[in-house]
Amino acid sequence: MNSTKFAPWADPEAKPLIRFQNVTKRFGTFTAIDNLSLDIYEREFFALLGPSGCGKTTMMRMLGGFENPTEGRIELAGKDISGVPPNKRAVNMMFQSYALFPHLTVWDNIAFGLRRDSKPKPEIEARVAEMLKLTRLEKFAKRKPHQISGGQRQRVALARSLAKAPKLLLLDEPLGALDKKLRQDTQFELMDIQEKTGTTFVIVTHDQEEAMTVASRVAVMDEGRLMQVATPDRIYESPNSIYVADFIGEVNIIEGTATPDGEETYRIDWADGQEPIRATSARSFATGEKCALAIRPEKVTISADRPAEAVNAVQGKVLDIAYLGNISTYHVELPSGTVIKAQTANTRRISRRSFTWDDPVWLSWTVTGGVLLAE
């Protein structure tokens, strides 16, 4: 790892910008956030990822000041901010619906927050011009929100929330209303703007690809708890639970019992009459402990014959083929009934495809290909 890499979370000396300390939030009898602690550092692009109802929006609304924690503390730059109203926080939010003021022009929308601080007029004008330039909206300054397209509205909302130069910018599903192509372009634009302004961004999303693309770290949430907080590659390559492995991307889960077999290596008995599989794991398992091997489809190789050097190989027949253009996912049914997905890049044209439905095939993967998880 090179030393200039941005990773304040790995530095024990670094002071977090935001600190959740044992925060619990209840709505009546429903617990939205359950005793959660989390540090977010300056200049981070932090993603809160989870299914709807997991509490990610509540976390954001507590940062914005629209909800207060039932228990625990939330610190912003070392100060407890519970009870501080939204208009007294150096935090701005970009709303899912954009919440642009329909009666004001793009220019006035962006200037709205600056005017509340009763800044001198030339300063406001300069700042609005700067924001318009940053979001490439100069041409639309005089339009009303209903006179511009969805993508432009999204940029107005971003410009408006950045205008006051907040310490922290909250983005609630910022790209949810855009179509896929525009969303992808906008993701890079967001990253670019975040880097240029040096603002700390916290984004809430249910779209895992979006979180993986933009974020420096991702927090996967479920039922008011953090399941895992890590960089996108670690979330993907070394999930710490079946939930996280399953939530992010596609995964095959093979359940069985572990037996230590050499240093950090385990033999997994997973089905009667099947050869045991072998996998490495940094976490230790006792003999006979239940475990699950999570392996990504792209790490499973599909071939007509058993590869000579393969450590783990199973035979089955092709049940289904999902053709996605650039890649194909083969669903292979094993004699035990288990279906394992294998993904290959379509480097040849489809007419030259090697396998088709009902073909007998071999699936193989390496000892390090999967992640061994506790049940």
Partner: protein, 273 residues
């Protein structure tokens, strides 16, 4: 455009005839030369001229206008506040009862409202005059305003207010700078509704008016009891005219706004990059 079937044509004709024939007759007879209301003696506008010289009618018109403007303005302020609280405050103890009580005057017989107000004014020793009519009209028109405004507030995106708070507004500033301008059309139509209600109220005004403060409907009603004069017809025609112009103007304004908005949105969709 669809052609109407004979059944629809007949229903439409009957409906409109039922609604408008009485008014059309009134307008026609206001231009009658003869003093006798039921005998047509040729076209004339002399009753309109006579109307302008009748000091009693002009006084009554002035009182009516004052009452209508004052009471509809007060009712709009109070009604908007009530609507805002009802829609925004979520669930609290007694909410259903409270909202039911706001709307109760809508179905309350006017005689009862008038009588109870009269008793109240006598009880607190308030001399009856313009002031008491204004108070009484405010009381019954306020609930109409709050119905109109709250139906707009229900569809109001709450995140707009949150955005205003987020950008540094106090709750009062958020209301003044964001909520009010957006719901303004509903507030204006609430005001117009209250204004019209006050303009044509007879029952409540007759309970709460004093000797020096006769409103136009009271004046017309008492004049008609002595016999219908063509002058009254002329006056009524003027009132119909004012109301018609007001209604058409309001609907034209909302319609052009809607058309413009739709055109802008289509334009925006087309120029999407």
């Amino acid at each position: 455009m669809n052609r109407l079937s004979w059944f629809n044509t007949v229903s439409l004709t009957l409906g409109f005839a039922f609604l408008y024939i009485p008014m059309v007759i009134l307008v026609i007879y206001s231009f009658n030369e003869s003093k006798l209301v039921t005998v047509w003696a040729g076209f004339s506008t002399k009753w309109y001229g006579q109307l302008l010289k009748d000091q009693a009618f002009l006084n009554a018109a002035w009182v009516t206008l004052k009452v209508a403007v004052l009471s509809s303005t007060i009712a709009t302020v109070l009604g908007t506040m009530a609507a805002y609280v009802m829609v925004r405050s979520g669930r609290f103890f007694g909410r259903t009862l409270f909202s039911g009580m706001i709307y109760a005057p809508l179905v309350m017989p006017e005689v009862i409202t008038g009588l109870s107000l009269l008793l109240l004014f006598i009880g607190i020793g308030l001399d009856r005059g313009v002031m008491t009519i204004v108070l009484a009209h405010t009381t019954f028109s306020m609930c109409y305003v709050s119905v109109v405004v709250s139906s707009r507030l229900v569809t109001f995106d709450k995140s707009l207010e949150e955005a205003a708070l987020d950008l540094g507004c106090t709750p009062a500033e958020a209301f003044r700078l964001v909520t009010l301008p957006i719901i303004a059309p509903a507030v204006v139509s609430g005001w117009l509704l209250a204004f019209t209600l006050s303009l044509d109220d007879l029952v409540i005004a007759s309970f709460t008016s004093g000797p020096s403060s006769t409103t136009l409907p009271i004046k017309i009603f008492s004049a008609v009891r002595l016999g219908v004069s063509p002058e009254i017809n002329a006056l009524s025609t003027v009132m119909i005219g004012i109301v018609t112009v007001g209604v058409i103007a309001t609907s034209l304004i909302t319609k052009t706004q809607k058309v413009r908005q739709q055109r802008d949105e289509q334009e925006a969709a087309r120029t999407q990059e």
